[in-house]
Symmetry: D2
Subunit: 206 residues, 4 copies
């Protein structure tokens, strides 16, 4: 297989990309000047070389020296009493974009589908417990926020984590909370599903 076909195949593995769009990517690179291809090639190699996974939060981050913690995990400005649990890096980045959270994070690395028999193979539950214990002796975690998507997998994962964390949350007196449910921006009442209406009513506020 030649480079053209191999590249087409590698791009086809990208999330959401079929063979046709992969082909368009290849011709796009061919039409660009040589510098673009070289920069792209270098950045991909550099990614694996310079990007490390944070030992506390499991977030990927760009390491310039031998840091073992991501900028958020080592920042003095973040609130140690809050730990938010997210599924993946892109969720974390989107929450950061909202500029409404100043605590720490933990990236689960996946979700637990319903009927999964070995949940511990899907998410970093063991690592999560360890970090909570370690942090709780050093500092003081007051609240763990489960920030999972409002779909069956997300809800099942939240239920599983709450059960698993019950002993440790009792031991260290940590409150476990979930993101609020209700009308999201743009929701029209006429078209809302029953669950959203029920949640919006239950969590109504002044």
């Amino acid at each position: 297989m030649n480079d053209l076909d191999r590249l087409k195949e590698l791009f086809s593995e990208f999330p959401g990309i079929g063979p046709r769009q992969a082909e368009r990517f290849v011709y796009f690179i061919l039409r660009k000047n040589g510098a673009y291809a070289e920069n792209l090639s270098k950045a991909i190699l550099g990614l694996k070389r310079h990007i490390r996974q944070c030992e506390d939060s499991y977030q990927y981050f760009f390491a310039q020296g031998d840091e073992r913690l991501s900028p958020i995990a080592r920042s003095q400005a973040r609130d140690d009493s809050l730990l938010m649990i997210v599924e993946k890096d892109t969720d974390l980045e989107n929450i950061e974009r909202s500029a409404s959270y100043s605590g720490r994070y933990f990236v689960l690395g996946g979700t637990v589908p319903i009927l999964e028999k070995e949940p511990e193979r899907r998410i970093r539950i063991r690592e999560l417990k360890e970090i909570i214990k370690r942090k709780s002796t050093e500092k003081n975690i007051k609240e763990i926020i489960l920030a999972l998507s409002a779909n069956p997998d997300g809800e099942h994962t939240a239920t599983y984590i709450k059960e698993e964390l019950e002993p440790v949350s009792k031991e260290y007196n940590i409150k476990i909370t979930e993101l609020g449910r209700g009308l999201s921006t743009g929701t029209e009442l006429e078209y809302s599903d029953k669950e959203t209406i029920r949640n919006a009513l239950q969590y109504r506020h002044s």
Copy 2:
């Protein structure tokens, strides 16, 4: 203009229906047997004849005798202490379908767009105040729930109503609440807008 073209034009006024779909409706009726057209024609006439607007809630309802109140407004089983304010009948029907509310309703008949100079011409604010006063002397309203869509018009209407109801809510000691904001069913964190994330964080719960 003949009946075919006139009917096409009348169907084109239906919400969300363009001239092409209006045309398909006409041919659909033509292909059906005569009874269908007759039933449709009768039901439309009957609608205006038998459907009345409730004097308390302004909901449309089917009146068999000389009732002046809708079934929900005259039901003994509903909770008089709760009054939910909605924009339109289809919102009310969707909330009823969720089977999670047992109080009374008031239909505003519209929303107040931002920059509207005469809000009282857009919604039944005068009628709303009157009904609150009248009900408060007879019975006991404890909470008014603003159930408006989570979009600019809905939010602006909620703000306007809260201001307008302030005196009467103080006088009769009525709490004014809004539907909960946060993740609606199916929302994925990766794609949530900033406002939804902010709301979901603010209204997080155990």
Copy 3:
């Protein structure tokens, strides 16, 4: 069942309309003044009363007196030597809008799905043969144009009709043609399917 629910049900039968949109139609009529409902009701009744099916082309048309033929079928300006066969009235109307055809029409009233065992129950094939025979003795049909959609049902219907019309087309020396296949407006070569490219190549022209 009251008029409101009955009307909701009748609108739900409209092509492409679900229960929710049917409900919105009902409330739309309720909010309009009484004249709208009366006009709509009358136009629907009038439709069945004044709309007749052409005895030659089977097109629906508005009959003012006791005409038995549609305006197109009785027009002196149309070309008797061309007979175009279409599936339904809306196809005919769209072809008329293109202002590129001046012959006569015949409306089949449906298509013949693949594997259908009794095709004669799906389309007016018997009526079509009769009209061709009758017209061929009176006037002179030179060409029958099969104007069917470019999908499996349309293609199968065309094949069936060609077989059925073979004897009559030989007897009266009538050419049977089909609409041209190739690139339709807006088609991009990069995304064309194989069949379209094959047709576009086969029917290329100077």
Copy 4:
């Protein structure tokens, strides 16, 4: 800017890719093992190193030695009497997939938008004339097929090329044709635009 952000930016330049999807590509590479990133990086570099542009057809191709012609351009099995003119490589690849053409190709490298004052800067019109002259003295081109998209730019480009090639086509007695226009696969008559109906009628066939 670190590798992560630089890569995000480079992926954002890919056709049809916004910043969010570019981010997902980056995290996808991070989650894959090191071999994937290395293969991707190598294939991109190799692309520019091993992919050459054919001197006859201007198609990109994988060159193993010092070939100057693409496999299609040097194949003995292809028909020299046919020359198909396409806008870009992906059009050519799609036509090859249809397995309905066995002649040669010429890739224009773009289209000529309406009102463009210097069309010769947008497409390889000079190179096209030269290749036609050269090929016509060596071999015998009988037909040039303009295979352009059925949109305003494609049609304008076809008109421009036909004018430009008039002298050379007369000199060497070459017929210039265009792809057939009509119903493409899946087209329904009810929703066809006027131009498509007009073409389908004009190019109807037995």
